[in-house]
Amino acid sequence: MRTKLNSWLKLLCLVVALAAAFAAPARAQQPQGAGKLQIDNEDALARKANELIDVSLDENLLRIIPKKIVTKTDEGKTIDIGKIVGGLRGVYVRSYGFNNNGEYDERNLAGVRTQLRSPGWARLVNIIKNKADDIVHVEVYMMTSAGRIDGLAILALEPKRLTLVNIVGSIDLEQLSLIEGQFGIPELGIGGGGDDKGAKPAKKQ
């Protein structure tokens, strides 16, 4: 009788352990590097730029941000930033501002493009707009696996500004698109010349 009870208890322990293992967040099962681009080695660009916005938030830094953080749009709609951040494992942005046109070229992006050609990444959007000799080129890449977003990369090439955005983890694009122009700050208006009006004072490294 006791032997039978022992067997049942062992089985129960096994089931609980398996359940706990499978109930772990799906993000824990993802490889740590999935969706992450190496965009912080553009020293040549940083030397040429007169303005640099550099944001590097890895998973540890994202964890210290409160989970319950909300903001309101100008129309009164509530955006739950906590929900957006919840699935993220990293946020990396490099935005270089230049004094003159043509201070950077495609060669500066060779490293990033090589990474974006690796398996898993797919280009969703490629917009090239030629407006009065000013070419604006925006590309949006996405890495997906098993029907979920693992990473997002945005390359925005403007005459006097080059922006690289890499968001690692699962992100709700609809919620993300609501954020522009919120928080009491005017919209960036990148289509009109590429100046990030109202952005946080950039730091030059």
Partner: protein
């Protein structure tokens, strides 16, 4: 030849008799079984059972399973739980007017429950400077136990004042260092949290701007093609 070897009748032969006498000492003699103490198996070895103690292995395993199950349940529930909706109303202490849910009243708002109301007003013990913070738990039905009291209150009898304790902290508004960004959190941020939050907001805003630009351009292209 006698039948002595067959059924012990007749005369035995000499050799047979000698052998019988010689081997007779070894014949079966009934006696109780005696097992040496060293060969005696222990009770646990035969039954496989262990002496029952308070912290036996099966009990520990059962307790660990229960604790794990409870932890997993608590974790799942805490993730799925919706934040409590609260609405802040500021009332100046000592003044005779207060504002509750956007309506002016002649006296400071009192804690209580309206019989027909769909909400119970509760007073938070927290004081912020010279302002008392009163929160309204929106869409919380009047508990059955308080309906009688609510009816008496509504009738003007002040004999009973329900006081509920609400543990949900009041939202705290944060403003970014550049003065533009505003967001609400439950507790004031530490400098590290503030820095990380500001960086995150900036990054998300940039990403959002680029995405929206791409979306607008695609729509324009689509329209132009039509």
């Amino acid at each position: 030849m006698s039948d002595y070897l067959w059924d012990k009748t007749g005369e035995p032969e000499e050799d047979v008799e000698r052998l019988e006498n010689l081997l007779g000492a070894l014949r079966y003699q009934p006696r109780p079984l005696e097992i040496p103490a060293t060969a005696m198996p222990t009770p646990t070895a035969t039954t496989g059972a262990r002496p029952a103690t308070l912290f036996s292995r099966p009990r520990l395993a059962l307790a660990a399973s229960l604790v794990l199950t409870m932890l997993a349940g608590a974790w799942v529930l805490s993730d799925r739980g919706e934040p409590r909706k609260t609405q802040l109303v500021e009332v100046k202490q000592g003044s005779t007017t207060g504002r509750v849910e956007g309506t002016e009243t002649q006296t400071p708002p009192k804690v209580g429950a309206d019989e027909n109301a769909s909400a119970v007003q509760v007073e938070l013990p927290k004081l912020e400077g010279d302002k008392a913070v009163v929160a309204t738990a929106a869409a919380a039905p009047v508990p059955r136990a308080y309906r009688g009291a609510a009816r008496r209150l509504a009738a003007g009898r002040q004999g009973f004042q329900p006081r509920l304790k609400v543990n949900s902290p009041a939202p705290h508004e944060e403003v970014a260092a550049n003065g533009g960004a505003r967001w609400q959190v439950e507790q004031p941020l530490t400098p590290q949290q503030r820095e990380a939050t500001e960086q995150l907001m900036l990054a998300l805003r940039l990403a959002s701007a680029k995405l929206n630009y791409a979306q607008r351009e695609m729509l324009e292209i689509g329209r132009a093609e039509k």
